[in-house]
Symmetry: none
Subunit: 210 residues, 4 copies
DNA sequence: CATGAATGAGTCTTCATTCAT
DNA sequence: AATGAATGAAGACTCATTCAT
């Protein structure tokens, strides 16, 4: 994990903002430099190229994410379902709190142009699947979970539902006339809705007999 | 619905291909022209601008989509759950068969730069919600569905799960060592998996008492 | 003098309008075609090229002008000063009534890119000088005009004053709060002002002893 | 008043040259760049756009002009007519010495497309009228000038005569077989002719009783 | 005779990057 | 270490004209 100076971090943050807003190709290094209040040449100087800047952003954000997940499941006091629920909340929390970055992530995943980023994303996915698989096997052994569970689909539902909810936030706000609700309150509302919804889904897949 | 000449359609198709692959801003009109085997100026000539080309693509694809949905639910022989299942299969079918277009759609939805496209998408979403809401009310009246159903979340799950599955296809293929499976067969496999998965989820939300 | 069909004349008229408004290079053949309600290819078809269209316009307008001047001075009942005054009024009338064309003419004269047009203009100027010189010599013989008269400067004053007045019309209207005066009335007003002004100037140069 | 670097000034000068020769729309930024010996992108880099380059040129030249006029009339030793004469000579000098710029100015005035330039020109005109009006009122108070004077027409005559003379220089040279006269000498000749001519005109309008 | 489709050269501008300092 | 100037390549788009029908 590289330690960035204030200026470097400022660039990174601005890049995240603009990439999320206008896409990688829709954002010029000049845009970033202007918005960040630094000279254009600084970007090449610090990050080598626009592409490497993007990769630096991914490394920075993904690094932080992975570290958080690690410790979460070592707890021995929680049951399997409880752990799954924690995982769900953790994911919701993470995505909703880092919406800008996740917008970039989803876009990049769709286009999958940059192989370096694809690899980062795939590694992350692999880890997640491994962890969840482990968890579920444990739950099956303890006979809390049913035998046939499609982990990949389950994850796709979690990730996809949260993503789709995130990109529809504006629409949701408009549709429910919540324009005046404070952002923080609205975020909490959505998170709670998501949490209940996905937990219900997962419980259905994992525990009920079809 | 405009009738396109062969050449115009060729451009439209190529644009879809490249936009899906490299994004709107990552694709130059020259790329499209070269790939489509036409002169660069033809694009401006036929579609006025790169942006209008994109919009033309959206109008073309969305027009076709909307027409299909319309007739689907007028059938009176099917029960509410059956209709929901038909809707799910229709959505899966549509997205998986038009992956390129849906990649563009998801990207645009994330970035939401072009207001004209946002409107098209929102209208589509509004229609879908209206249709499903109608369907569910009918099911509730007939006492097949439970009382409290969050339609928006349900749709987000359907759309999100399919989307997430689509963008993970490569990963999925690799993870399951299915590189040698013929594309058509693989597509059928994924569609079936998705169908079962989402139907299970929906049945749980709609019918089981929590 | 070529006889133009309705369509050809329509093009010619539209070209005059647009050349006067946006200059030759600022006007595209497509602009002209659209405004004239004809197909783009018609312009090349009828006039060979954009440049030839301009030349056709000049031939058409200049031809008409020359014809009018010709007969004006054969009258034997008018004295020399009276004839000069008629010439002044004729010039004012012509320029003010064909402002669009004269805008093009002045611009082309300033830039003098097209040699063919320069020649047309120079021929016209030569004729004017010849006629006036003749007139003045006659006046000098009759001892109505003083001996030393700079014909070229005199003409420059007439042409220049009218031109400068024409291009300043908008400013003039604004400066004198005449925005509400009907166009025809305003035109008459300006013409009268110009007429008196230039006649006064010419009388001073031609008759008074300095 | 911006201070331009050598390179920027070189571009400005070349632009003036080419705009005067081929008009604004007839001159491409590539023309300017090539002629000025700089990279094409430098023009956008320094001046933002071709249009802004034109405006920069106008600001530069008009700024210099206005500064000169300012001090001219504060002199208390000259009489009103003398001051008018100084003004005439100043105008002649200015236009003849900056022919290129004034060609552009006249063209722009004719087409009046760029509102920013129109404003600059109108302001200049307003100032001139104000100054001259002041001068003439003074002359009337001192009973050197007659009561009724049309200041606007007077200015139109001065400006128009000089302009018309300038654009006819080539013709004039040819007509009088002065092709061999050195440029400087020819310029002096024309300036003197113009000076005498316009002073005569103005004296007639201002002092003689009609 | 008249025209809609088509084109390649050209338009201005912006791009990410490099260079000299 | 940091930066303002500079650049060539590429961006989308418009141009006047031609050609097949």
């Amino acid at each position: 994990m590289i330690n960035y100076t204030d200026k470097q971090f400022q660039i990174l943050k601005t890049a995240e903002e603009l990439f999320a807003l206008k896409g990688f190709d829709g954002t010029s290094v000049r845009d970033i430099a202007d918005e960040a209040g630094v000279n254009v040449s600084m970007i090449s100087y610090y990050f080598r190229s626009k592409e490497k800047l993007m990769e630096a952003l991914f490394e920075y954000r993904m690094g932080h994410i992975i570290m958080r997940v690690e410790t979460l499941l070592k707890d021995n006091l929680m049951g399997p379902l409880q752990k799954v629920n924690v995982l769900i909340d953790d994911h919701i929390e993470r995505v909703m709190d880092r919406q800008k970055f996740y917008r970039i992530l989803f876009c990049e995943q769709i286009l999958n142009k940059n192989p370096m980023i694809i690899e980062i994303v795939n590694n992350y996915k692999k880890r997640n699947i491994a962890i969840i698989t482990e968890l579920i096997k444990d739950g099956q052994k303890k006979e809390v979970f049913k035998k046939k569970v499609d982990v990949v689909m389950m994850l796709n539902t979690m990730i996809g539902t949260v993503a789709q909810t995130m990109v529809s936030l504006d629409y949701y706000k408009d549709a429910h006339n919540l324009q005046d609700m404070p952002d923080a309150e609205f975020a909490t509302l959505v998170k709670r809705k998501l949490s209940i919804h996905i937990k219900t889904l997962f419980k259905a897949i994992l525990t009920y007999e079809a």
